[in-house]
């Protein structure tokens, strides 16, 4: 059995699988390892599928533009549906505070070529049928954003990676990294040792544990978010909707939802006080809160049937920006971690840029912009993503 590879990717999730794919496409012989039984069994399947380039951080905008390009053309190039739906993202606004925030980031969004605009209440009512009109000021709409099915997307990329020669080994938890003279040489797993010249830490919620194995303290802290999905209903909602207001119940920050390619409504909120840790058991609090918020925003959702609930982990960083690049001090080790709950939408872009960095020593995108994701930055400099 071959145990030496050109590259090993730790984590077959939203980031690890596309990274494996893009490295394999560059001719690397790649091994992707995961402790689960198949690709996407960590947080990928907990994602609600929203994919937007509508951010305030230039690097995130650029990365997600790449992702959107890959997602939106996947079926055309690979013949396999990944549930892509170009419905856009809509941020409806009822208060001056959110209006000010969204309008303040429009210039940078436009500078980075985002197809986004502020629209009036009538347009919002058209985009979101049945939206509560009382006090609606308007909002932003970015029509090139969309949604994919996380499950189908990762399955498709797993398949494409294999076709490009990558190998996957599951139920294969990494227990240690082999490092000599500050150079990475391989990984130890429960099932054996594998060597490689390049190792990518794409371990999502477990990125910090992997970091410790290299003596690094990577500031990635998992937080648990709950989500739910409805029974499918006849298509009525195009965009993914984000309501940035905090909830009247005092427990939620923003919440967001959309109707996916299967016509189910999928929804999630950001708790005001984060649930730190790895607990993924559903709580009794989520559904009553989100139900009230959804029906307050769109009263006709009262008759929507909720089918399933789950929790997923957001690997958060102190500044809300992902950590992508060469690991400090260890040659051959790369990080693609801390996606802050946006691993699905960031994954393909990160994978493609990281593969370029590994292969050619520099990313495809503007290096200066890319470097803002650097593992060596000051995570506590006070810069925070506005739309995290």
């Amino acid at each position: 059995m071959k145990t030496h590879y050109d590259a090993i990717v730790i984590g077959a999730g939203s980031v690890g699988v596309p990274t494996t794919y893009f490295l394999a496409m560059r001719g690397y012989h790649v091994l992707c390892l995961d402790s689960y039984s198949s690709s996407g069994q960590g947080q990928n399947k907990a994602a609600i599928g929203g994919t937007r380039a509508t951010h305030s951080d230039p690097a995130k905008i650029r990365i997600c533009q790449k992702s959107l390009e890959i997602f939106s053309t996947w079926e055309e190039y690979h013949g396999q549906s990944i549930g892509w739906k170009k419905g856009g993202y809509c941020f409806p606004v009822y208060r001056a505070k959110e209006e000010k925030l969204l309008k303040s980031i429009l210039p940078i969004q436009k500078k980075f070529d985002l197809n986004i605009d502020w629209v009036g209440p009538d347009k919002i009512k058209e985009i979101i049928p049945g939206i509560n009109p009382n006090g609606l000021i308007g909002g932003t709409f970015s029509q090139d954003d969309g949604q994919v099915c996380p499950l189908l997307a990762i399955e498709a990329m797993d398949k494409a990676a294999r076709e490009a020669g990558a190998e996957f080994k599951f139920k294969n938890e990494v227990t240690d990294l082999i490092i000599n003279n500050n150079t990475i040489e391989g990984v130890k797993t429960r099932n054996g040792t594998y060597t490689a010249d390049v190792i990518v830490n794409a371990a999502g919620a477990h990125a910090r544990e992997i970091g410790y194995m290299a003596g690094l303290d990577i500031p990635v802290f998992p937080e648990s978010h709950e989500a739910g999905i409805s029974a499918p209903v006849r298509p009525f909602l195009g965009p993914l909707v984000v309501d940035l207001r905090p909830g009247r119940e005092g427990k939620t920050a923003n919440f967001y939802f959309g109707q996916n390619h299967e016509n189910a409504v999928i929804f999630c909120y950001t708790p005001k006080v984060p649930f730190a840790g790895l607990d993924r058991g559903a709580t009794s609090e989520f559904m009553p809160i989100i139900a009230n918020r959804l029906v307050e925003l769109i009263p006709r959702l009262k008759n929507l049937m909720v089918r399933r609930l789950w929790r997923g982990l957001y690997p958060m960083t102190p500044d809300g920006v992902a950590i992508v690049g060469k690991a400090p001090g260890i040659s051959g080790l790369y990080l693609a971690v801390g996606m802050c709950g946006q691993g699905l939408m960031m994954g393909p872009g990160v994978g493609r840029e990281l593969a370029a960095l590994i292969d050619k020593g520099k990313p495809e995108m503007d290096k200066k912009v890319f470097d803002s994701l650097s593992p060596e930055r000051d995570f506590y400099a006070g810069k925070v993503e506005a739309l995290k």
Binding site: Y36, S37, S38, S39, G40, Q41, K45, P129, G130, N132, L151, L152, I154, E155, S230, A231, P232, V233, R234, P235, F236, R248, E249, E262, N263, D279, G281, A282, T283, S284, E285, M287, P288, A291, N292, R293, L294, V295, E296, P299, R300, L301, K302, N303, L304, M305, V306, R307, R308, L309, W310
Partner: protein
């Protein structure tokens, strides 16, 4: 009302009910107030409720138990499961063709609702035999209990059990009809002040913060119990074969619900798959409802159900084919015929042994599985939890009741109360749960000098003793500590007929040799529970013996019916003298013979639907497994198996079977992750203050 209502039944008493009008496809139809939409549709001869939005396949009843989602209809614009939604006067029911549209109801609601929380010492999921029995034990000690059940009436499946129960007469009411035990238990429960019963209140989820979500009359509430007892019973196993998803192919329990609970003549001609107790009893129940049963197939060389159940079915003229399976179900949008085949030891069909039957209904009775997801979740989240009845171990309802009683006491002990659990209780529940045992050769009757004597055709070890407990002269007895042993006749018979009328297996007849002094004729006195008019006094009918074999002809000279016989009649048949002791029954139909079909379509896994909700075929699943998939979650991700409204309740056990069929070591397979909700819940349930039907 329509001809599809059962207006006369040997056991059940159809009550006069209030008629209401509703609409299906804008056509006015009659229903009874309080019944479910699916029942009203069936009673009006409507068995196709809609089309599946994915492929347009016809949909109808499957579980009749709120577990699947095949019976979805649009009721006043909302997609609902018709089997658990009450039909209302003027309700406009439409078939669900395609996806339901969200009604454009933009009326705002007060969206500041927080679910009501209930604290209780014990929360019981399920008001069936196990749940009620436990609640009675707890309530007698004044423990605060909430019992929640998803149905509109308590008693669980006991209400469907129109037959006399096996077991111990003293300890679990054996000899009584299951439905009467249900009424008895529910009556007991009502007397207890500390027990609160929530009907129409399905448990939706167990949460990690140790709260349990219940949709109480349409409104989501939370229960915080100190202890949680899961007594949710069982669900029926499915079987995957070509045509298994046609309307008309459904569960035996669903059929019992339609027939015995709702008094709907759900079929005209039916066939049964599965020779366990459920399959055998359902055939009997069908005959009692005036529905013709063409046959039963059982895959094993012997039926797994009690031999007494098997024999009584055969005596009536229903053929039972063992080492047979159903090859396919066919019909144009609805079941029209089934094709069965003999199978070899490896369960492979043997070509050339097929038989075709024209039927409108095929009942699946291939075992039950515990409803234990909530128990597992509760345990995972550290809730003090218990399981009783079928939710713990699948067995007869008498065992469920008894285990509920024991678990009730166990909870009391864990709460620190000093209540005994008699040692013999544990023994009894073990016996009640035991599989039928050894079969002995049929003994000739112990006649002695008697002119009148019983013939006992009870030859298999089963837990049962009502005959011994009810013999007037105490001459029938079980000569063993265990009620598994066979009864014997001690030689003294008063001819009272108590044994004949109480034997749950209908396995005892009386012979009166003093009827005719010339000893040319004698009387056979047999138990009878078939509909009025099936036999008439004066008729000469074909008599059948122990295992349904034809004995000869007999004249019906009397039908005795007394209050104490508890709705079982005693039929007096005049037979040739030497035949009387052989006669055990009367044929009510000539057994159907296995007629070879003109042609049999080759089996194709691509036409076998495994996941009904998402319309996934056996072929699709096999292809993934052969590609190396060993993870239920990966199957789910790509094929959507188990992602539909039922949450994998039907397909997951079938998919385990497919893994096995593909030669996969099941230890390699990553199991399905169970997630809430147990049933779909409308958002309004989290917001509305008022329960359904209340102001």
């Amino acid at each position: 009302m329509s001809e599809l209502r059962i207006t006369e039944h040997p056991i059940l008493t159809p009550e006069k009910r209030e008629e209401i009008e509703f609409f299906f496809r804008d056509r006015p139809l009659k229903a009874y107030k309080g019944e479910m939409i699916s029942t009203a549709l069936f009673a009006n001869g409507i068995r196709i409720f809609g089309e599946h939005y994915k492929d347009g396949s016809p949909q109808g009843i499957f579980c009749a138990n709120g577990q699947c989602a095949q019976c979805l209809v649009l009721a006043d614009g909302l997609a609902v499961k018709s089997c658990i939604t009450e039909v209302k006067p003027g309700m406009k029911v439409m078939p669900l063709d395609g996806l339901p549209a969200l009604p454009g109801d933009d009326q705002a609601m007060d969206t500041s609702h927080i679910p009501e929380e209930f604290e209780t010492e014990v929360f019981i999921m399920g008001a069936g035999p196990a749940g009620i029995s436990a609640a009675i034990e707890l309530g007698r000690q004044e423990v605060r209990v909430i019992v929640a059940d998803d149905k509109h009436i308590p008693g669980g499946k006991l209400g469907l059990q129109t037959h006399n129960f096996f077991g111990s007469a003293r300890e679990c009411n054996a000899g009584m009809r299951g439905m009467d035990i249900g009424t008895l238990l529910a009556g007991e429960l009502e007397k207890l002040d500390s027990v609160d019963i929530w009907l129409n209140s399905p448990v939706a989820a167990v949460f990690s913060d140790k709260k349990i979500g219940v949709v109480k009359n349409g409104r989501f509430v939370l229960v915080r119990p100190e202890r949680f007892l899961v007594a949710a019973g069982a669900r029926e196993n499915a079987l995957a074969f070509p045509g298994c998803d046609l309307p008309g192919v459904y569960g035996a329990g669903a059929f019992q619900t339609l027939v015995n609970r709702d008094l709907v003549k759900a079929a005209k001609r039916l066939f049964v798959v599965g020779g366990g107790n459920v399959g055998l009893i359902v055939a009997y129940h069908a005959l009692q409802a005036g529905i013709d049963v063409l046959g039963i197939v059982e895959a094993l060389p012997e039926c797994g159900g009690y031999k007494v159940h098997l024999d009584k079915i055969k005596r009536l003229g229903v053929p039972v084919w063992t080492s047979h399976t159903v090859l396919r179900a066919e019909g144009d949008g609805i079941l029209e015929r089934v094709i069965i085949s003999e199978i070899d030891k490896g369960f492979r069909p043997i070509p050339g042994t097929e038989g075709e039957f024209e039927v409108d209904t095929l009942l699946i009775a291939v075992g039950l599985s515990s409803v234990n997801e909530m128990f597992n979740k509760a345990r995972e989240f550290g809730i003090e939890c218990y399981a009783a009845g079928d939710a713990d171990i699948i067995a007869e309802a008498s065992a469920a009741a008894f285990s509920g009683q024991i678990v009730g006491r166990k909870i009391l002990q864990d709460m620190g109360l000093e209540v005994p659990i008699p040692g013999e209780w544990d023994e009894m529940v073990k016996i009640l749960r035991s599989k039928p045992g050894k079969i002995y050769p049929l003994q000739g009757p112990n006649i002695g000098s008697n002119k009148i004597y019983p013939v006992i055709r009870c030859v298999q070890e089963i837990p049962c003793n009502p005959c011994a407990e009810n013999c007037l002269l105490q001459s029938l007895s079980i000569k063993s500590e265990s009620i598994m042993a066979l009864p014997t006749f001690g030689g003294r018979c008063a001819g009272c007929g108590h044994c004949v009328s109480i034997c749950p297996g209908l396995a005892i007849t009386l012979v009166d040799e003093g009827y005719d002094n010339t000893r040319e004729k004698a009387l056979a006195i047999i138990p009878w529970e078939m509909p009025e008019g099936t036999i008439r006094i004066g008729e000469v009918r074909t008599t059948t013996g122990f295992e349904g074999e034809v004995i000869g002809q007999g004249r019906i000279i009397a039908i005795r019916e007394a209050e104490w016989q508890n709705r079982r009649k005693l039929v007096y048949i005049e037979t040739p003298f030497n035949e009387a002791r052989l006669v055990a029954g009367i044929r009510i139909r000539e057994p159907a013979s296995k007629m070879a079909p003109l042609s049999v379509k080759a089996a194709d896994d691509a036409e076998v639907i495994v996941c009904r909700c998402e319309r996934v075929t056996k072929r699709q699943i096999m292809d993934k497994i052969r590609d190396g998939c060993r993870d239920f979650n990966a199957l789910k991700a790509e094929l959507r198996t188990g992602m539909g409204p039922c949450g994998g309740k039907t397909c997951i056990p079938l998919i385990w079977g497919i893994f096995r069929e593909c030669g996969v070591d099941l230890k390699e397979v990553e199991p399905h992750i169970y997630r809430p909700f147990e049933l779909e819940v409308p958002l309004r349930a989290f917001i509305d203050e008022t329960e359904e039907g209340k102001e």
